[in-house]
C-alpha cells in the first residue's frame, strides 16, 4: 500500500513538473510573441508621438516628437529616429538609437543650439527617457531572454481574456525584481505590467490605455506608465501611425540627425 502511495506521489510530481516546464516554455513563447507584437509591428513604422508628463501635484509638461523605426531583423536589431518638435526650445533636436539585440544600444543626440552631434552613453537602460516615467528600455524593449517567465494564470482584463505571466530577471537587475504582465490572448499585446522591487513593493505600472487596428496591425495608441513611489505618471499617445512605408536604413545615420528626412517628417 505504502509503495503504491509513493509511486503515485512520484508520478504526480513528475506530471506536475512536466506541466510546469511546459507552462514555462509556453510563458516564454507568449512573452516572445508579445514582444514582437508590441515592438516589432510591421517592418518599419512612423508615428507622431505626444507625451504628457504629470507630476504628483498634477502639474503637466509635454513633449512632442516624430518617431521612425526600422526593424533590421525581426526580433533582433532595430533602429529608431526621433525628431523633437515640442517644447519649443528643443525643436529640431534629434535623437537616434541603434538597438543591438543582446548588446549595448548605441545612441546619438543632435543639439541644434550648439550644432553638435553627441553620442549618449547607454550604460543605464533604466534611466528616464526625456524625463518621463518611461525608461529607455521601456521604449526600445527588454529582450525576453533576459528574464525567466512563468505562467501564473488565465484571467481577464476589462472583459478581454489575458495570460498573466510572471517574469524574474535572470541576473539581478536594478529595474525590477519581479514583473507581472497581462497579455491579451488575441492581440498578444501587453495590456498591463506591474513592476515590483526586491522588497515586493509595487514600483511601476504600465497600461495600454487604447488599442487600435492600424494597417491591419493591432497597435497600442495610448499607453501610460505610473511611478507608484513618486506619484508621477506619463501618458503617451501615438497618432498618424503608418507601417511598412519603406524607410531606408540610410535615414538612421548622422547626416540625417542634422537635417531630418523631409520625406517622413514634416
Amino acid at each position: 500500500m505504502r509503495k503504491v502511495t509513493t509511486y503515485l506521489i512520484l508520478v504526480f510530481t513528475a506530471v506536475l513538473a512536466s506541466t510546469a516546464m511546459a507552462a514555462s516554455e509556453d510563458a516564454t513563447e507568449i512573452m516572445k510573441k508579445s514582444h514582437l507584437a508590441y515592438y516589432y509591428a510591421g517592418n518599419d513604422g512612423l508615428a507622431e508621438v505626444g507625451m504628457t508628463l504629470i507630476d504628483k501635484k498634477g502639474k503637466e509638461r509635454s513633449r512632442q516628437f516624430s518617431m521612425l523605426r526600422l526593424d533590421v531583423e525581426e526580433g533582433g536589431n532595430q533602429k529608431y529616429y526621433t525628431y523633437f518638435k515640442k517644447p519649443s526650445d528643443v525643436s529640431r533636436l534629434t535623437f537616434m538609437v541603434h538597438k543591438t539585440s543582446g548588446g549595448n544600444d548605441a545612441r546619438w543626440i543632435y543639439v541644434p543650439a550648439v550644432d553638435l552631434v553627441k553620442p549618449i552613453s547607454a550604460d543605464d537602460k533604466n534611466s528616464s527617457f526625456v524625463g518621463s516615467d518611461f525608461s529607455y528600455e521601456d521604449v526600445s524593449g527588454r529582450h525576453w531572454m533576459e528574464d525567466n517567465h512563468t505562467f501564473v494564470k488565465d484571467s481577464a482584463l476589462a472583459g478581454a481574456p489575458v495570460y498573466v505571466i510572471e517574469s524574474v530577471p535572470k541576473e539581478s537587475y536594478k529595474g525590477f525584481s519581479r514583473k507581472l504582465s497581462y497579455i491579451d490572448k488575441t492581440t498578444l499585446l501587453p495590456m498591463k505590467e506591474e513592476y515590483y522591487d526586491k522588497k515586493g513593493n509595487l514600483i511601476r505600472v504600465f497600461k495600454a490605455e487604447k488599442v487600435e487596428v492600424i494597417d491591419g496591425i493591432a497597435t497600442v495608441t495610448v499607453r501610460s506608465m505610473e511611478d507608484v513611489k513618486k506619484g508621477s505618471r506619463t501618458v503617451v499617445s501615438f497618432s498618424s501611425i503608418s507601417y511598412n512605408i519603406g524607410i531606408e536604413e540610410d535615414v538612421f545615420t548622422e547626416r540625417y540627425l542634422k537635417s531630418p528626412p523631409r520625406k517622413f517628417i514634416k
Binding site: K59, D89, I109, V111, V114, P119, G131
Partner: protein, 781 residues
C-alpha cells in the same frame, strides 16, 4: 477671606489635604495624553508668512529636512576600504524607515555628469558599486572636485571628509534615525570618525533630551531644596509641606495645559522648573515665620494664624507681581511663549493658594510632641545671624557708600546692556562637549556646511528661469552671497547648465558659462534629462514649468547673527541690482525661520518686559500707597535685571531664547524680597513707632526668611548648571543670580536708603498698613 481659608485649613487639615489630593490626581490623570512638540518652527504662528513660504518652497521643490552624516578619516577618506564601507553604510541607511531614499546624497547615490566613451555625455552614479583600487577612489574625489554641484558638499577638497545627506520624511524622526545610523556606522564604520549633524537633528534631539533632563532636574532640585530646608528647620514633617505645594502646583498647571489641548513645547517643558522655586518661596516665608515664633506661642494654630496674618499681604503681592511678569508673555507674538506664560501664571496662583492652605494643614497634622524641639533658639552667634548682623551694620553705618556703590553698579550695568548680542542657534543649546556640537564643528570645518537656506526666485511666466538674463542674475547673486565667510557653497540651476555645457564641450572651462540664448539653455537642460540625469534632481533647483528657481545656500554656521548677515547682504544686493523684470526673490529654510522668530521674540519680549515693569510699579505704588515707596521697591528688581543682563553683555553670552524668556522670571522673582522687606519694615515701624527698632527687627524676621530663600533657591538649582543642555545651565545660573543679586540689593540698598532718608520715608505718625500688625507685643517680628 484669608481668615476663613486659614481657619478652615487649621480646623479641617485632612479635608484640605484630601481635596487637594483629589484635584491633583485629576490633573495627574491628564499626563498620559501629553502631546510633545519640539519643533522650533512652532515658535511662529501657523499662518506666519515666513513659515508658509518655507512650507511652499519645500513642496514646490520637493525639499526635505535632512541630517548630515560626516565621515572623517586621516590621511584620506578616499581609499578602497573607506569608500566601500561608506557604500555599504549607505545601502543599509536606505533600508531605514522614515527617510526619503531617492534623495539621499552619498557617493553611491549622486549622479556625476561626465564624458563617456566617444565624447558622449553620461550622467550616472558617481560610485556605481564597490570599488577595487585606491586609484578608483582618487578618481571619485577628482570627479567631486570637478563638479560645482558636488565640490565641497559631498567631500572636502582634501578628501579627508565625506558627507552623506539623509533627507527625512519628517523632522521629528531625526533623533531616532540618527540613532539607527549611529548603530550602522558603529558596526560597519571601521577606523574613521563618524559625525551626525544637522539642524533638524539638533532640534529634535533637544526635545528628547530636554524631557530626560526635566525628569531628573526637577526632582533633584526638589530634593536639594528639601535637604536645605531640613538643615534650617530640622523637622522633616514641616519641610514636606513646601514640597507638596511645589509638586501640586506643577501638576495642576501641567495637567490643565494638557487638558486644554496644548502641546508641551520646549518652553512649556520648563514650567516645573519655573514653578518649583516660585511656589517654594512662599512656603519658606510661612515656615520661617512659623519657626521663628513657635517657641513664643507654643501652640501650632496660634503660630500659624500669626504667620499667615503677617505674610498674607506680602505673599499676595509677590504672587501677583510674578503673575504679572508671566502674564505679560501673552503679549509676545510667539504661541509657545504665550502658553508658557499663561500656565506659569496659573501655577503661581495655585501655588499661592496652596501655600495658604496646605502649609497650615500639614502644620496642624504634625504632633506637638514632634515639635518640642522645633523653633528658633537663640542663635545670635550662628552663621546666619552673623551675616545678618553684618548686613545690618553695613547698611546702617555705610549707608551712603552703599547708595554710591549701587549707583556705580547701575552705570556699569547700563553700559553692559548696550553690549548685548542677540543671537541663537539651536545646535548651541548643546554644550560644546555634546556629540551634536562636536559633529557640527567637525563637519562645518571640513565641508560646505550643514545648515541649508534657500533663496527662491519667482516669476509668473513659465520658462522664465531659462532666460539667460535671469540665470546671469542668479549667478551674480551666488557670487555675492559667497563673499560671506559663513556661506560654504551655493548651488543652483546655473551650475547644472554650466556643468552640462562644460562636459559637452570636452571639459572646456571656457564653456562653463551661462549660454547667451534661451534655446540653448533649454537644450542643455534637455540634454541633462536625456543623458540619464534624474529629472527629480533638476526639480530641486527649478519647478518643472521653469517659473521658479531655488538657489541652495549652504551655511557653515547656523548662528542667527551669521544667517542675518547673509540675509542683509542679499537685501543690499537686491537694492543695488534690481532683478530682471517679473522676478522676485524670497528666502526660505530652517535657519531663515529661526532668525524670523528670534526677531519677533526679541521685540515681543521687550514690550512684554516693559509693560510688566510698569504694571509692577503701579502695583507697588498701590500696595504701599506711596509713589516714593513704589519707586524704591523697584530698585532691587531694576538692579537685578540690569546686572544680570549687563553681565550677559560683558561676557558675550548670546541673548537667545532662554535668556529672553528668563527676563520675565527675573522681574517676577526679584521684586519679591523687596515687597517682604518694605511691607514688613513699614508694619514694624507702624507698630513700634521707632525707626531704630524697626530697622533692627527687620533683619530678624524678614531678613532671616529672605536669606533662607536666597540659599535654598540658589543652591537648589545648582545641579542644573551641570546639564549638557545650555538652556538648563542658563536657567540654573539665573536662579542663582536672581536670588543673590536681588537678595543683596534688598538687604543692603533698601535698608541703606531707609536709613538715609528715614525722616522723609517714615514720618512721625506713619499710617501705612499698620492695621495688618498682629496683636503681639515685645520682640514681635
Amino acid at each position: 477671606m484669608k481668615k476663613r481659608v486659614t481657619e478652615f485649613s487649621i480646623r479641617h487639615p485632612w479635608a484640605v489635604i484630601g481635596i487637594a489630593v483629589v484635584i491633583t490626581a485629576f490633573f495627574a490623570m491628564q499626563f498620559p495624553s501629553m502631546k510633545i512638540d519640539t519643533d522650533p518652527q512652532n515658535m511662529l504662528e501657523a499662518d506666519e508668512p515666513t513659515r508658509l513660504f518655507h512650507q511652499f518652497a519645500k513642496e514646490e521643490f520637493n525639499l526635505y529636512d535632512f541630517i548630515a552624516v560626516g565621515v572623517v578619516k586621516e590621511p584620506t577618506a578616499f581609499s578602497t576600504d573607506m569608500l566601500n564601507r561608506i557604500y555599504r553604510i549607505t545601502s543599509e541607511i536606505t533600508e531605514l524607515d522614515g527617510i526619503i531614499v531617492e534623495d539621499i546624497m552619498a557617493p553611491s547615490t549622486v549622479d556625476d555628469i561626465k564624458q563617456g566613451p566617444g565624447g558622449s555625455l553620461v550622467i550616472e552614479p558617481l560610485m556605481a558599486g564597490e570599488i577595487e583600487t585606491d586609484e578608483q577612489a582618487r578618481y571619485i574625489l577628482g570627479r567631486i572636485n570637478d563638479s560645482p554641484i558636488l565640490k565641497g558638499k559631498l567631500a572636502s577638497e582634501d578628501g579627508r571628509a565625506i558627507a552623506l545627506f539623509i533627507p527625512l520624511e519628517s523632522k521629528d524622526v531625526s533623533h531616532s534615525v540618527a540613532g539607527q545610523i549611529r548603530e550602522i556606522t558603529d558596526r560597519l564604520g571601521g577606523e574613521a570618525t563618524y559625525h551626525i549633524a544637522g539642524l533638524p537633528l539638533a532640534e529634535d534631539s533637544f526635545g528628547s533630551e530636554m524631557f530626560v533632563q526635566m525628569a531628573y532636574s526637577a526632582p533633584a532640585a526638589l530634593i536639594i531644596i528639601m535637604l536645605l530646608l531640613l538643615m534650617f528647620f530640622r523637622q522633616m514633617k514641616i519641610v514636606v509641606a513646601p514640597m507638596v505645594v511645589a509638586m501640586m502646583s506643577t501638576i495642576w498647571a501641567m495637567g490643565l495645559l494638557i487638558l486644554t489641548g496644548n502641546t508641551v513645547h520646549i518652553m512649556s517643558s520648563m514650567i516645573p522648573i519655573f514653578l518649583i522655586p516660585i511656589s517654594v518661596l512662599n512656603s519658606i516665608h510661612i515656615i520661617s515665620e512659623f519657626h521663628d515664633h513657635y517657641k513664643r506661642y507654643k501652640h501650632k494654630d496660634a503660630t500659624i494664624r500669626h504667620s499667615i496674618n503677617e505674610l498674607f499681604v506680602p505673599m499676595l503681592f509677590t504672587s501677583m507681581t510674578t503673575v504679572a511678569g508671566f502674564v505679560s508673555l501673552a503679549l509676545t507674538p510667539i504661541p509657545p511663549v504665550r502658553v508658557f506664560g499663561a500656565f506659569v501664571a496659573f501655577g503661581i496662583v495655585v501655588a499661592w493658594f496652596l501655600s495658604l492652605t496646605i502649609n497650615p494643614a500639614i502644620g496642624m497634622l504634625v504632633s506637638s510632641r514632634a515639635l518640642r524641639n522645633f523653633g528658633r533658639t537663640d542663635d545670635a552667634h550662628g552663621p546666619l545671624s552673623r551675616v545678618l548682623n553684618t548686613f545690618r551694620n553695613l547698611s546702617g553705618r555705610r549707608n551712603k557708600s552703599i547708595i554710591a556703590a549701587a549707583s556705580v553698579v547701575i552705570v556699569v550695568a547700563a553700559v553692559g546692556l548696550t553690549l548685548i548680542e542677540v543671537n541663537d542657534n539651536p545646535v548651541k543649546w548643546f554644550k560644546k562637549s555634546h556629540p551634536i556640537r562636536q559633529a557640527d564643528m567637525a563637519m562645518n570645518q571640513h565641508l560646505a556646511g550643514t545648515y541649508m537656506n534657500y533663496l527662491v526666485f519667482e516669476s509668473e511666466d513659465p520658462d522664465h528661469m531659462k532666460d539667460p538674463q535671469v540665470l546671469a542674475y542668479m549667478e551674480d547673486f551666488q557670487r555675492e552671497l559667497e563673499k560671506e565667510e559663513v556661506v560654504g557653497a551655493t548651488t543652483g540651476l546655473t551650475d547644472i547648465v554650466k556643468k552640462v555645457r562644460y562636459e559637452l564641450f570636452g571639459a572646456d572651462s571656457a564653456r562653463a558659462v551661462i549660454p547667451d540664448n534661451q534655446t540653448e539653455v533649454g537644450q542643455m537642460l534637455f540634454l541633462f534629462e536625456m543623458s540619464g540625469g534624474d529629472p527629480d534632481d533638476l526639480f530641486k533647483f527649478v519647478t518643472n514649468d521653469y517659473a521658479r528657481a531655488n538657489l541652495w545656500v549652504q551655511l557653515k554656521n547656523g548662528d542667527n547673527q551669521q544667517v542675518q548677515r547673509v540675509v542683509d547682504r542679499s537685501e543690499a544686493f537686491l537694492a543695488a541690482h534690481e532683478p530682471p523684470d517679473g522676478i522676485s526673490v524670497q528666502w526660505a529654510g530652517l535657519p531663515y525661520i529661526n532668525i524670523e522668530w528670534q526677531r519677533q521674540m526679541v521685540t515681543g519680549m521687550r514690550s512684554s518686559l516693559m509693560s510688566s515693569y510698569i504694571v509692577v510699579f503701579l502695583m507697588m505704588t498701590f500696595l504701599f500707597r506711596s509713589i516714593r515707596w513704589g519707586a524704591i521697591s523697584m530698585l532691587p528688581l531694576t538692579i537685578t535685571i540690569m546686572a544680570i543682563y549687563a553681565f550677559i553683555g560683558y561676557i558675550g553670552k548670546p541673548y537667545d531664547m532662554p535668556v529672553a524668556v528668563l527676563s520675565s522670571l527675573t522681574l517676577g522673582l526679584s521684586i519679591d524680597f523687596a515687597i517682604h522687606f518694605i511691607q514688613r519694615l513699614r508694619t514694624l515701624h507702624a507698630r513700634t513707632q521707632s525707626f531704630k527698632e524697626a530697622f533692627h527687627e527687620i533683619f530678624e524676621g524678614a531678613g532671616r526668611a529672605i536669606s533662607r530663600n536666597v540659599l535654598v533657591i540658589a543652591i537648589g538649582f545648582v545641579p542644573m548648571m551641570f546639564s549638557s543642555l545650555v538652556p538648563y545651565v542658563t536657567v540654573g545660573s539665573f536662579f542663582l543670580a536672581i536670588m543673590v543679586v536681588s537678595g543683596l540689593v534688598t538687604m543692603l540698598l533698601l535698608p541703606a536708603i531707609s536709613a538715609t532718608f528715614n525722616k522723609a520715608l517714615f514720618p512721625a505718625r506713619a499710617q501705612a498698613s499698620g492695621k495688618e500688625s498682629a496683636p503681639v507685643r515685645g520682640r514681635a517680628a
